[in-house]
Amino acid sequence: MRTLKYSEAIGEGTVQSMEADPTIFVAGQSVDDHKGIYGTTTAAMKRFGPSRVRDIPNCETAFAGIAVGAASQGLRPLVVHTRDDFMFLAMDAVINVAAKWRYMYGNKGGAPVVMRGVVGHGWGQGATHSQSLHSVFGHFPGLHVVVPASPADAKGLLVTALRGDTPVIVLENRGLYDVEDEVPQEPVAVPLGRGRIVREGTDVTIVAASLMVREAERAAQALAGQGVSAEVVDVRSIRPLDEALICESVAKTGRLVVADTSWARYGLSAEVAAVVAENVFDALRAPVRRVTPPDCPAPVSWPLEEAFNPDADALARAALEVLGLSRRLEVARDELHHNFIGPY
């Protein structure tokens, strides 16, 4: 199969969805410029022009409501935020209006807004430009939240979101944009709420999302070299969450390590651990381990930034720990990120 970069896959999914549904339009700050949101809106701009790829003023709060109003009246806005951190300003309309619209108004119609948020990563993005709000959005019924880890999912989950009749938040980690892999030519909808086994294993389960899936794979590879068979589960969807897949895997391996780019407290790593404690607690043969950033905002200085960001090395060590193995093991940093240079 032909391969695409993660960013190109988003662009292709956008164009194909817009071809299939004339009510879809892209909107966001500078979505129409030469950078095209890291190349993800460029194809749509080329193909459909500014009437369907709309630059907007700096007004996250109102625009989220505007998108809801447009969606409730038959348009399909695909709103893009160059950093999901900016979505704090959009939260009222997203959580109090979009997420609740169908329910609160008696199930007579919805507000199927789709919002993309780019999660910053590396190069000193810092405290307010590298947060991932997936667990915040994931807390609220009425929303669907997806965090694609592969180019195929970046396209497939977006296609699904744009076909549905319900609001969806898509969070994409900037650190994945240059990852290249096979992507179906056709707009194949990836089911929302189904995780995937990225790598099969028998000794320990590593559950991850988005960028951490890549780190989990690298960890699993390194562990294999040490004779440890790690299974890697990509949840893909934060809400709904694929409880069954997670529990099956842990029931098999008896050991769980959860990886997240966001903090442990009240985050994805907490929810995954809770799902296991609810359903397969007796399968656990070791304490659950969470591999997440420490309890501080994201620092800029790169040695701190590298210490802050959880990676394959931390995951591999956590896996060895829950297996009670004292072996020593060092996983090199991801080339992809080391080759990444600024401004950003």
Binding site: P57, C59, A64, G65, A70, A93, Y103, G106, G142, G164
Partner: protein
């Protein structure tokens, strides 16, 4: 859509009768378990604006939305049933008093968080314009909601894209117990806030239904012609407490004298007096209307009480729409 003064009066009377009776019942029965914000004393703005709209136009409102809903033709039975939390309510008992909706009547939605529907209505106008429809949107909000940043962002966007939306600010001088002087700089005119974006911005006497009607007609013509948004400030006054059925003068923030001075400017009395020369029997008509309204509401209340509460096993209905696959 009407400019017949008698029809305008009739519409105000009906809303007044409905709200005053609902207030009494709400207070005495304690069966409508949802916070209610009555528009008693403010009927002219909703009636005057909606009289300039046609059914396919859309209206959005805030927490104080009963009058707007009824003026736009919202179903009374469904509203009353909603207050009683019944399955036959306009949101099937899910949203309550502050989340009225009647898609058929063109009442787009109301919501309780200040300013939300200023942006949502702007987006709805965008959708109508994109679809090439010549319908317009009117969104009602108060002087307090105009202080929210979303107001600024929405008006800038609407004027930038010349969207057919009428921003209707019902300025009743208060936000909860807080007077304008505590919230907006001396000399503020909210019409200036809107005018700076380049849209027509007009203030009218919110207690004079014909004045409101004609101001709104100009706004509608402007929007329908595709010339962009329009801002309308309507000065009026809330008679009852902010939320709930009671009177609240002489507690601390406003005097009985102030309330009375506004009761003396009752939009209904005013419209009635204006009609009397032409309709000497207006008071008899009014008496008949009151009876009609009492009966209509009594029937609605009876129907509401007779209808079922939502079944508990439907608790999750509508939490999500259909998925893409």
């Amino acid at each position: 859509m009407t400019d017949d003064p008698e029809e305008l009066l009739r519409a105000m009377v009906r809303i007044r009768n409905v709200e005053e009776t609902l207030a009494d019942v709400y207070r005495d029965e304690q069966e409508m378990r949802t916070p209610v914000h009555f528009s008693i004393g403010q009927e002219a703005s909703a009636v005057g604006v909606c009289a300039a709209l046609r059914r396919s136009d859309l209206v959005y409102g805030g927490h104080r939305c009963h009058a707007q809903y009824l003026a736009k033709g919202g179903d009374l039975d469904a509203m009353v049933a909603e207050l009683y939390g019944r399955e036959t309510g306009c949101t099937r008992g899910r949203g309550g008093s502050v989340h009225l909706i009647d898609v058929e009547a063109g009442f787009g939605a109301a919501s309780a968080i200040l300013g939300e529907m200023i942006s949502v209505a702007t987006g709805a106008a965008w959708a109508l314009a994109t679809a090439g429809r010549d319908d317009v949107v009117a969104t009602f909000f108060g002087d307090g909601a105009a202080e929210e940043g979303v107001f600024h962002e929405s008006l800038n966007f609407a004027q930038l894209h010349r969207l057919p939306v009428i921003y209707v600010c019902e300025n009743n001088g208060y936000s909860l117990a807080s007077p304008l002087a505590a919230r907006q700089p001396e000399g503020t005119r909210i019409t200036d806030w809107a005018a700076r974006y380049g849209m027509p911005s007009v203030s009218a006497d919110g207690n004079d239904v014909t004045a409101v009607r004609s101001a709104a007609a100009e706004a509608v013509a402007w929007c329908r012609a595709g010339r962009g948004p329009y801002f309308l400030e309507l000065e009026t006054y809330r008679w009852r407490e902010h939320v709930g059925p009671h009177w609240d003068y002489d507690v601390d923030h406003r005097s009985k004298a102030e309330v009375d001075s506004w009761i003396a400017r009752c939009p209904i009395v005013r419209a009635t007096d204006a009609l009397r020369p032409a309709l000497p029997d207006i008071d008899r008509r009014r008496a008949r209307w009151d009876t009609e309204d009492r009966e209509e509401l009594a029937t609605a209340i009876k129907a509401a009480k007779a209808s079922p509460f939502p079944a508990v096993d439907t608790l999750l209905d509508g939490a999500y729409g259909a998925l893409g696959v």
